[in-house]
Symmetry: C2
Subunit: 212 residues, 2 copies
DNA sequence: GTCTATATCTCGATAGAC
DNA sequence: GTCTATCGAGATATAGAC
């Protein structure tokens, strides 16, 4: 069954507002965001925001719930079974980087929530877990199995997953800094992202592969 | 010579305000932060904020300049020459993780600025570079030299540095999420940080070490 | 230097015409 | 459903007593 995607039964206008809100909240934070800025981004009157979504808190909650679900689903979506661990890793890195690229606003919002203390995170995780969406222990299990099978060195699965996520995600967070320090990333960001996939697989694969 | 540390000639009161402002801006963002919240955190009257620092924009700029300088200096501070590349890497990871831990508010503020678009980043970088503080190309050079000397595999230095930074830094950004998904990190964060240093060195060292 | 009171403005939210 | 006008809370900033 499809996840309870809050956007699925949205009208065109609601979707415009939703996307604009996601974008503005992601940049300015839940408190920093202005309703006027959201209205402008949605190319709509400010009063309409309150017509479709009661108030700012409701709008934020709607947007954050969607974001949290996207993130919960992203792991399963990126992890496809493959004959070897190397292939599984390669596919996951490609898939996860693509997910973040296609959902930059979601990613930023998630980071914002973490920076602000993450009070909504726990309750959202619990709600999603209760309704069947398991937290992404699946990637951890994959690593643990590979260790067990001797396919990779005996590493800590939790830390390893965290390292993979960090490297796939953080350069999007710090995009402005990256582009200042590394001109090629400024000139052609897409190419930089593709190059980064190759680098990450190379680095992590060799970091995990057994040594005889 | 010491860097132009804006805090060096601060009075006790100014320092209280400065630290409180750094903290609040780091959590709520430049726009989301309230002057009242800063005053409360500094345990001081709201009017004092305007007496010592003209207005919110000035206060933010002061705080951000300091943060940017800290970050520029952190690389040189963490990178100590050691006999082997392995030792250099180990010392850098330990030093950089410790830097971030001791400057969590700075780190959060830096991330906030990036999320918001990073408009201040460029001009701040340029200002610091002009006044002699070179950008942290030093770590990149170290990696490039190690590749040249055959001490490590032929990796892209820029991407490698970005990967090291990501893994040392992101788990602090996502601390609330990490603590939800990984209970031990919740129970004893300090121990988790120490364990992470070991993991990161292990993973990255093996990721870079040559294979015969 | 410190604090209270207040002016000024921004922003979220609503009323009411169309 | 859409828009204009506006109210009222809350935030920045200042005036002025002490």
């Amino acid at each position: 069954m499809p996840p309870p995607d809050s956007r699925s039964d949205y009208s065109e206008t609601e979707r415009q507002i939703f996307d604009a809100a996601l974008d503005v909240f992601a940049r300015e934070g839940r408190r920093g965001a202005r309703m006027q800025a959201i209205a402008d981004a949605a190319d709509i009157n400010k009063a309409m925001l309150h017509y479709y979504f009661r108030d700012k808190a409701t709008l934020y909650e709607e947007v954050f719930t969607y974001t949290a679900c996207q993130f919960m689903a992203s792991f399963d979506a990126s992890l496809k079974e493959a004959p070897t661990f190397a292939e599984t890793l390669r596919v996951f890195i490609d898939g996860y980087v693509d997910f973040v690229r296609s959902n930059e606003a979601c990613m930023r919002l998630m980071v914002q929530e973490n920076l602000a203390g993450g009070t909504l995170l726990g309750q959202q995780m619990r709600k999603a877990t209760d309704s069947g969406d398991a937290p992404p222990t699946i990637l951890v299990d994959t690593i643990a199995d590979a260790v067990q099978a001797g396919e990779i060195r005996p590493v800590d699965p939790d830390h390893t997953v965290l390292s993979v996520i960090s490297t796939c995600l953080y350069f999007f967070v710090a995009q402005p800094t990256v582009q200042i320090m590394h001109p090629p990333a400024e000139e052609d960001w897409e190419a930089f992202v593709e190059a980064r996939k190759d680098h990450l697989f190379d680095l992590i694969y060799h970091g995990l592969a057994p040594r005889e």
